[in-house]
Symmetry: C2
Subunit: 269 residues, 2 copies
């Protein structure tokens, strides 16, 4: 673990990341000493920082820190957090605050291998996401909605929860982005009012475009999701999981999901 | 500063308060060695913890810690944070997590005395609050909306910002609750979909009821606010500030606001 470049696992109780969730983060997968898609993750955290007016550390600095961590932890999950740092009491962002940045490493989760091949069972969350266009798409530290949603099930056979927003649009998984296939077309929810636009979502869209199967960003509800030919979830840690079961609906074949898995595994950074 | 009862100013980077804003807080005013309305603040943080399923430390423990702090800092602003504590990676709340609780102390802010008597100038925030009934009313650590709102002005003569929600209902100040007076009736916004229901708001409602001037919780928009006979803001640090100026509208007399200030100053805990 590194805090502002130094080994450590503590931060100030006056850090605005704690006080207000005033910061952003990334979760990366390290495999054989390489952090997968690190340049894309950096672009995303830099862009998220910019929206919030946080001074993101530069690429070279973070890359050097990351390289040091990878040497010690060639395989695992890396988490990078950038907060606005400390400041005087009060919500207003202090001018010229020095951002705090920190890294944490944890072991790779031990998911059943079948989840990537045969698909997963998912829970439909009762919690509905609120709409806040000013924060939509950003992976910020205000994640209580995700916490409440993830608390809804306690059954190890359920791999993820599906989130709708308050008006009923399908948005995402609690920790993943969602895609569906309908009549051969790939669709993913519009995230302009809520949700997190993850790196793996961008990679799927890029891969699909490269293979002349462009993905369309759309608004759709639960009924349309249940009528889809395939549904799959993606994130940077587990990659791509086809959905096998949601409520009374089951999907037994996932040909396009598996094709996209294959494309992703061969795509470069 | 105290962290879990021990002098200290650091917490773990794995604390869910930092990772997800998974916690709640209170801000109290200490005056001559007494924390104002501490029992009400405790009730509120206990109730907020309960909604989130966080195990709130008990009253006797927190009161003992508070007494120690007050002996050293008889006047100032006290902040109490309770988070869900540390846990395994992932949004799902770990079962049996030991909550983290911490206290911080800062000096009393140096507000112009005229703000409480002659009223304040306020900014109408462009940021609109999202609606999330599951979190409405709770003073949780997901406060990025307040941060973005408070970043909108940089004029020391503006004391607060007024927040509407996305549909246009008046909700609150960025760090205060709002009341308006219309034809002798006291009104305060419905906070069932967003906003924080603060202790000072509850005290105003209680005082008004005691004096046979009951406050009505209502939905109203900007137009109705601008048409009000009086508007005032309250919180536990500054008490009550009448609003003197909002956009083109100015209010020069604040008889009911001043009456309520008077009632508050004589009300017990």
């Amino acid at each position: 673990m590194l805090v502002n470049g130094e080994p450590g696992k503590l931060i100030s109780i006056r850090d605005r990341g704690l006080l207000y969730g005033d910061g952003v983060f990334r979760t990366l997968r390290a495999t054989r000493g390489k952090a997968q898609h690190w340049p894309l993750h950096y672009q995303k955290i830099q862009s998220d920082c910019k929206v919030l007016g946080i001074d993101c550390p530069d690429f070279a600095l973070l890359t050097a820190e990351l390289d040091g961590l990878l040497a010690a932890h060639p395989d695992g999950v890396l988490k990078l957090i950038v907060t606005r740092g400390e400041g005087a009491r009060g919500y207003a962002p202090p001018s010229g605050a020095a951002a705090t940045h920190l890294w944490d490493v944890s072991p790779l989760p031990d998911y059943p291998a079948g989840w990537a091949t045969d698909g997963i069972k998912v829970h439909l969350c009762e919690l509905r996401l609120s709409q806040q266009p000013r924060l939509a798409g950003i992976k910020h530290l205000n994640r209580l909605e995700n916490v409440l949603a993830a608390a809804e099930w306690n059954d190890a056979s359920i791999a993820e929860g599906i989130l709708l927003d308050i008006p009923g649009n399908v948005i995402a998984g609690t920790r993943s982005n969602l895609f569906m296939v309908r009549d051969g077309e790939l669709l993913t929810p519009d995230l302009s009012r809520c949700g997190v636009a993850g790196v793996q979502r961008a990679r799927v869209m890029e891969c699909a475009a490269t293979h002349n199967a462009p993905c369309r960003v759309a608004q759709f509800g639960l009924e349309q999701l249940l009528a889809a030919d395939e549904v799959f979830l993606v994130n940077s840690v587990f990659g791509l999981w086809p959905v096998r079961e949601l409520q009374q609906r089951s999907w037994n074949r996932h040909p396009i999901s598996r094709q996209i898995q294959e494309w992703l595994s061969h795509a470069s950074d």
